[in-house]
């Protein structure tokens, strides 16, 4: 019980840090997210890809002494691609994603609260209601499981990290050079 309460508390503290960083990074702003989706403002990808570079180096380093384990999500065309595209349409209509939506509520954006959050609750409830037939007929189409990029390309994880990290840094330099 003590352990469970401690974890709930940690979840709250980490959420506060996450929300703080999202808001300060500017990605809880409707204009910033729409700017990204209209390819005019690249803040969202700068935040995401900086997090990815930092995160992947740390997580794979912490894996060496066995301090962390991976939490890989299974994938399939029927779930990842179909769901991802539906998500994308909602993303552009709402102008926030689930995490930044919560952050937008915290900064006082009422369209996020009365439109987005209520919509998300309705959407997830609908999904839970249609989950059974969807699971039987669609979600497993073209399943490829918990595949990782190193497995896909048949190389060591650190090779992927170095190449991907370099590509992302080059991408950042291009963005800055282009004044975006």
């Amino acid at each position: 019980m003590g352990h469970k309460m401690a974890q709930l508390f940690l979840g709250l503290v980490m959420g506060i840090c996450f929300g703080f960083l999202l808001q300060r990074g500017g990605v809880t702003q409707y204009e910033v997210i729409m700017g990204q989706l209209l390819l005019r403002d690249w803040t969202v990808l700068k935040v995401m890809l900086s997090a990815v570079v930092t995160g992947m180096v740390g997580i794979y380093a912490l894996r060496i002494p066995g301090l962390v384990r991976l939490h890989k999500k299974s994938g399939a065309v029927g779930s990842t691609v179909f769901g991802g595209l539906i998500f994308g349409v909602g993303f552009a209509l709402l102008g926030y994603c689930p995490g930044t939506l919560a952050g937008a509520v915290g900064q006082g954006s009422m369209d996020a609260l009365f439109g987005g959050v209520l919509g998300m609750l309705a959407g997830t409830a609908i999904y839970a209601a249609v989950y059974d037939p969807l699971e039987r007929k669609v979600l497993h189409i073209g399943e490829f499981g918990r595949l990782t990029l190193p497995q896909l390309f048949n190389v060591k994880p650190w090779s992927v990290i170095v190449v991907l990290g370099a590509l992302i840094v080059v991408f950042f330099f291009i963005l800055e050079y282009a004044g975006l």
Binding site: M56, I59, K73, G75, P98, G108, M110, T124
Partner: protein
Amino acid sequence: MISEPSNAMSRVATAGTLAFVALLVLIWCVDAAGKDAGVTSSAIEPSVWSMKRWSPYAAGIGIGILSWFTFLLSDNTLGASGSYATTAGMLERILRGSKVKEKTYYREHPPEIGWGWMLLVGIVVGAFMSAKLSGDFHIEIVPSLWERTIGEGVLLRVAVAFTGGLLLGIGSRWADGCTSGHGISGTLQLVASSWLAAICFFVGGVGTALIIF
């Protein structure tokens, strides 16, 4: 391996050391970015906490470092969409009681308060703290970009936001993750499904945005 008590001690020790280094790195990043923008050299000398925006790179590095701690201390990942489903399930439980468990989804994902749900609550609190500290907090219903291009009508904005939220809710559960769970936490673990999902989020998003605006 992950649940041995001695391992737990070393994880806490590692986390403590990392937290200290991370804090130094983050303050240095924000400070450097501020100097770049010529903010900190002014006479008022605003602190890191009162700056309205941090460099997106600093915020991203901060989120990346935060992800280390979610793995180290909570054996969990940053994600948001699942907790909306949890909330929907909790509301349904209030209405229908234990019948909610008739649904396979809620049997597989019990609608109970857990680490991820607290994380979602924390995001609201953290964003509020950030906005209050920098003076960015303000009640707004229609975002300015929407007002300029589409109109001032509150009802239309809320209706479209609701529709967007609805699709976001369905899509995020359908794809088993959102821009946080797949887009950051999954991609940083080099998971193929997460990279594919992140690409689909942006393909769908950019396509739709270009049609609307």
